[in-house]
Structure formats: structure tokens, C-alpha cells
């Protein structure tokens, strides 16, 4: 067995050097905090966008479009889609389908005065049944045919002139804000909703919508309807995706960008923390030269010494991981918004912590501990017994 030296030996040695242990743990926990925060941010974006889509819903956009903003579908194509028997239907036997038009307007942020791109979604009446996560928080819903909008609560929190009763400019006209919608942690909370026909007319889109979303009567029939739609000559230039898949793809670019940038910064920081751990462990080895010689003389093998010092370094990194993760978990209470590169519109999101992030962070911290502790541990294990014992005399 490699582990022969009691763990109490490691633990008490760390406690005996409270100051250096504390400083090293602080360094590691700060890096762990940044690492976890980056992952939580990327996850927050993904969670928000994935929650926006429903697994039962199917979205159609033009082939090659990165988002609804770049997509176009004609009313004729949408009418054709609505005839397929796989679509779920309401009590009046109407298909559960919304033809949406998505465009962009600029609003000023309350705090900084900076401009932000806000997505305006013109919806059909079926949108409410398809998106039950969207609820009215205050005011009322807009009336079809009226220049009225309801505003996502995440937008209302941060942008000017977005309270009920205010007027905002969409296209060339003033639209009245008649309600605030609440959509949990979904992207809809960062949108403005109005009547699709009026939005089409305002932007001269002449019956060209951005997307069509419908519910499947049986979610398992996705592949069937996908094949049918893709083989229909008049619909061949459309992409057919589950709504959740579409929104997940929307999050990928930004989540990947944040992860990559953040991880590069974290890796640079981690070198500092590893050097800190290394200095601490080298000092521990130097201070305990006689102890090491004694342990070796008593019969403990080199690998036991190596393991003992590595364990100390790993304990330091585990404590750092615990503190860093503990601090990072408070970030879940923070939410902010920025432009989503996928849709070029403002998206409000928070930090999201999940077991995968916890595990990744602990592993990252342990890797720092191993790299920081390995060379000092090797030095300890390679010490000559006679010279080590002589260091005390």
C-alpha cells in the first residue's frame, strides 16, 4: 500500500503553518472562483436559451439562417405547414402554430444610457398556447390590430420608457406599452411582443415571416414530420429543428466565446496559484527535511513520502475549491444582460451552477494541487536519508 503515513500527519502540518496555508488557499480559491464563474456564466446563457425552447415544439427557419433575424418564410409556406396532420390542434381544431416575425429596435439603458438591441417579436394568436412559460406580470396583453406591445420584464428592468403606459418607437410609429410579460429564465423575458401582422406591415415585409413554430401532437413524430417537410418541394429550403435544439444552437457561439476567453484568463491566473502552492510545498519540504529523513529511516518508502506531500498539496487545493465554489455559488443571485452574438439582441441571464461545473471546478483545483505539489513532493521523496538526518544536527 502506498499510503502508509497517517493523514493526521498531513492535516496537522497544514494547520501548523496557518499563515502560508491560508495564503495559498486564498490564491487557489480566487482562481477557482474565476474558473467557476466563467463556467457558470456560459451555463447561464445556455440554460436561458434552452429553457426558451420546448422539446415538443418544432421551429422552421430558412435554410442557412443563423437565427430568426436572418430567416424568411412566406405566408403560403406557413399555411402549407399548418395542414400537416402531425401538428397538435386546439379545441377548435386549429393547429397550434405561430408565425413570428422578429426584428430589432434600439432602446437606451436606464443606468448607462447606452443603446441596446432589443428583439421585437410579432406573434400570431397561437403563440400563447405554444409558450405557456410566458405569463402576464402586469398590465394586459396587446390587442390584435392595435399598436400595442407587452415587454419582457428583463427589458423593463433595464431600459428606459418601458413601463406600462409608456410609448416606444417601433419602425416609424409610436407603440403603447400595455403590459409586462414574465417568462422565467427564458429568452422571451428579453423580448418585446406585439401583433405579427402590424409588425410585418410596419417593416414592409409583405407577408414574409421570420419563423414558424408549431407543437407536435406526438413529440416522438419529430423525425416523421421533419422528413415530410424536407421532402415537400415547396418547403425544401427550410430548416426543421426542435425548438430546444434551435435555442441551444443560439447559445453556443456566445457560451463558447465566454468559456474560451474566461478559461484562457483562468489558466493564466492558475499559474500564479500553482507557483504559490509550489512555494508553500517547497518551504514545507525544506522545513521538514529531518522529519523526512526520520520517516525514511523508520522504513517509509520514497513513494509514501511522495504521496504524503502530494496529499498535503491536494488538501490545500480541495479547501481552495470549496471556498472558491462557495463564493461562486452566491453569483447565482446576480443577473445581467448583454448582446447575444447568436441573435444580436439583448439577452438577460444569470450565473448557473450545476453538478458538472462543481465537478469540473474540483478537478481543475486538484490539477492545480498536483502540479503545484508534484515537484516539491518529488524533491522530498528523493532526499538522501543520511543528508536529511544531518540537516538537524
Amino acid at each position: 500500500m502506498i499510503m502508509k503515513i497517517p493523514l493526521s500527519y498531513n492535516w496537522r502540518n497544514l494547520l501548523a503553518r496557518r499563515l502560508t496555508t491560508g495564503l495559498t488557499v486564498t490564491g487557489i480559491s480566487l482562481v477557482v472562483f474565476v474558473f467557476a464563474a466563467v463556467l457558470m456564466l456560459a451555463q447561464g446563457i445556455e440554460d436561458t436559451l434552452v429553457a426558451t425552447g420546448s422539446e415538443d415544439n418544432v421551429i422552421l427557419i430558412r435554410e442557412g439562417s443563423q437565427s430568426e433575424l436572418m430567416s424568411s418564410l412566406t405566408r403560403e409556406q406557413i399555411d402549407l405547414v399548418s395542414t400537416f396532420p402531425e401538428l397538435a390542434r386546439d379545441n377548435d381544431n386549429q393547429p397550434l402554430l405561430t408565425a413570428d416575425v422578429v426584428t430589432m429596435i434600439n432602446l437606451h439603458k436606464k443606468q448607462s444610457g447606452d443603446m441596446g438591441n432589443i428583439a421585437v417579436r410579432g406573434i400570431s394568436p397561437g403563440a400563447f398556447d405554444l409558450r405557456p412559460q410566458v405569463r402576464l406580470e402586469s398590465g394586459r396583453w396587446f390587442k390584435p390590430g392595435q399598436l400595442e406591445v407587452v415587454i419582457g420584464n428583463k427589458i423593463a428592468e433595464q431600459f428606459e420608457n418601458t413601463a406600462v403606459g409608456d410609448q416606444i418607437e417601433i419602425g416609424s410609429k409610436k407603440w403603447e406599452v400595455v403590459g409586462i410579460l414574465e417568462a422565467g429564465k427564458t429568452g422571451f423575458a428579453s423580448e418585446i411582443w406585439g401583433d405579427a401582422d402590424l409588425v410585418l406591415s410596419e417593416f414592409n415585409r409583405q407577408n414574409v415571416f421570420s419563423s414558424a413554430t408549431f407543437r407536435l401532437s406526438d413529440p416522438a413524430e419529430f423525425e416523421i414530420i421533419k422528413t415530410k417537410l424536407e421532402t415537400e418541394r415547396r418547403l425544401q429550403e427550410l430548416d426543421v429543428k426542435r425548438e430546444q435544439t434551435y435555442y441551444k444552437e443560439q447559445s453556443q457561439f456566445m457560451a463558447t466565446f465566454i468559456s474560451a476567453l474566461g478559461l484562457v484568463i483562468t489558466v493564466i491566473f492558475s499559474f500564479g496559484a500553482m507557483i504559490g502552492a509550489m512555494i508553500t510545498m517547497y518551504a514545507a519540504v525544506a522545513n521538514r527535511t529531518v522529519e523526512i529523513g526520520t520517516l525514511r529511516a523508520l522504513g517509509f518508502r520514497r513513494r509514501s513520502i511522495l504521496t504524503a506531500f502530494l496529499i498535503e498539496s491536494l488538501v490545500l487545493s480541495l479547501i481552495g475549491a470549496g471556498i472558491g465554489l462557495g463564493l461562486a455559488s452566491f453569483l447565482q443571485m446576480v443577473s445581467f444582460s448583454t448582446t447575444n452574438f447568436g441573435s444580436f439582441s439583448e439577452l438577460a441571464f444569470g450565473f448557473s451552477l450545476n453538478p458538472v461545473i462543481v465537478l469540473s471546478t474540483v478537478v481543475f483545483s486538484l490539477v492545480m494541487g498536483i502540479f503545484g505539489g508534484f515537484l516539491p513532493a518529488v524533491r522530498a521523496a528523493r532526499m538522501d536519508i543520511v543528508n536529511s538526518l544531518r540537516a538537524g544536527g
Binding site: 502508509k4 503515513i5 493526521s8 501548523a16 522529519e291 523508520l298 538526518l389
Partner: protein, 227 residues
């Protein structure tokens, strides 16, 4: 008595850069089982080097070292570590206790290398600490003990595995006369009552008087023997 330790024609040379420093030259020696041997000599005479070789923490440049039937010069690094854990008990001049472990834990430490159960370890450790008169100091850390008490813990640690040979490197060198006397009495008891073979290096003639045999080294060679 049969020879427990057979040192056959060993030499030890250290190197400082390209300079050769011979410490022991063709030295031969036998230590019978149950012997209490003191090695004396001036600084640099090679007595500590000889002790290090016999205890298996250093290797000879040439010659053989047969202890309890094993030529330890031929053992690999890990075989030697295992051999030390089973055959050698160390008593150091500065006690070399682990400061973060209690007296009990320090004595228990060599037993971590054995297959004894926790209960057996407990029985042994308590018995040893009682023998050295520290049964009431088991939970004390080394810094809470006097020098003499620390050395008694070190003796308990040295004998807890019931080793073949006890090695003492100036065991009274850091103690006042009274404490030194207590340690010598204890070592005498280990030798006579518990039949332990002891090889001890000392500068102190008073300590050497306790030994059955005293050997003098000078410039790496034995110059006299007997008592």
C-alpha cells in the same frame, strides 16, 4: 553467542566533486546477538558512517554487511526500506520525533508499516510508553515534553516493532546528566531484560561505560576493542 552483525571488509568513500574522501577502509567487525556495543572516536573517525551502514540508511562502497543472515548491501532501495522497518530501531541524538504527532502517535508510526490490527497496535504502543514511564503522557506533543521525556518516547518508538537491532546515535548527546542517566538505565534494561542488541555511537565515556564492549575508531579504522 552467534554474530548478529557481520561487517566484512567494508570501505566507504565519499566524493566532494572529483575529490575522493575515504571514511572507512577495509573495516571488519562482528557484533554478537544480545551485545551492547559502544563505538567511540573523535569527530570524523567514521563511527557515525559505520552506524549508518549497519542500520541500512547508507551503503558501503565495497564489502558486505550481513545482519541477521541478510546481506543488506545487496538489497534494493525498497527492500532495504522494508528491512529497516522490520529489523532496526533508531534512537537519535535530537530524538527526531514528529512535532505534529502526539507521543502515542509517534510511537505508533513504525507500526503503520506492519499488518497489526488497530487493537494490537494500541496494546503495543501503550505497553511501550508504560515501559519508558510515559503512560500518563501519551497525548502530549513533543514540545510539551522535556528532552529526557522526548528521548524516552523515541526509545519506545525504536522498540515498538520489536526490532532485531537498536541503533543509538549519541542518544544522550543532547541531555543533561540526570536525563542522560535515565536514558542509559533504560537502554541497559532493554539490553539485559529484553535481550535487545544495541549498537551505540557516543562521545561520552560515562555512556560508554554502560556498554559491554567499547570499540574505538580513528581515521576509518578500528584501533581497539573490548572492555
Amino acid at each position: 553467542m552467534s554474530a548478529l552483525v557481520q561487517v566484512n571488509n567494508i570501505s566507504k568513500v565519499y566524493y566532494r566533486g572529483s575529490i575522493e574522501i575515504p571514511v572507512l577502509q577495509n573495516l571488519s567487525l562482528e557484533v554478537p546477538e544480545g551485545e551492547f556495543l559502544a563505538l567511540m572516536g573523535p569527530s570524523g573517525s567514521g563511527k557515525t558512517t559505520l552506524l549508518n551502514l549497519i542500520s541500512g540508511i547508507d551503503r558501503p562502497t565495497s564489502g558486505s554487511l550481513v545482519i541477521a543472515g541478510t546481506d543488506i548491501a545487496k538489497l534494493s532501495e525498497s527492500q532495504l526500506a522494508k528491512w529497516r522497518s522490520q529489523n532496526i530501531g533508531f534512537i537519535f541524538q535530537f530524538y527526531n520525533l514528529i512535532p505534529v504527532l502526539t507521543a502515542y502517535e509517534n510511537v505508533e508510526l513504525p507500526l503503520e508499516l506492519t499488518n497489526l490490527t488497530k487493537k494490537e497496535k494500541k496494546q503495543r504502543v501503550e505497553a511501550m510508553l508504560n515501559i519508558v514511564g510515559l503512560g500518563d503522557r501519551m497525548d502530549h506533543y513533543p514540545k510539551q515534553l522535556s528532552g529526557g521525556q522526548q528521548q524516552r518516547v523515541a526509545i519506545a518508538r525504536a522498540v515498538v516493532t520489536d526490532p532485531t537491532l537498536i541503533i543509538g546515535d549519541e542518544p544522550t548527546g543532547d541531555l543533561d546528566r540526570k536525563s542522560a542517566e535515565e536514558i542509559l538505565v533504560l537502554m541497559d534494561r532493554l539490553n539485559k531484560e529484553f535481550k535487545k542488541t544495541i549498537v551505540m555511537v557516543t562521545h561520552d565515556p560515562h555512556a560508554a561505560e554502560r556498554a559491554q564492549t567499547v570499540l574505538h575508531l580513528e581515521k576509518g579504522e578500528l584501533i581497539s576493542g573490548g572492555k
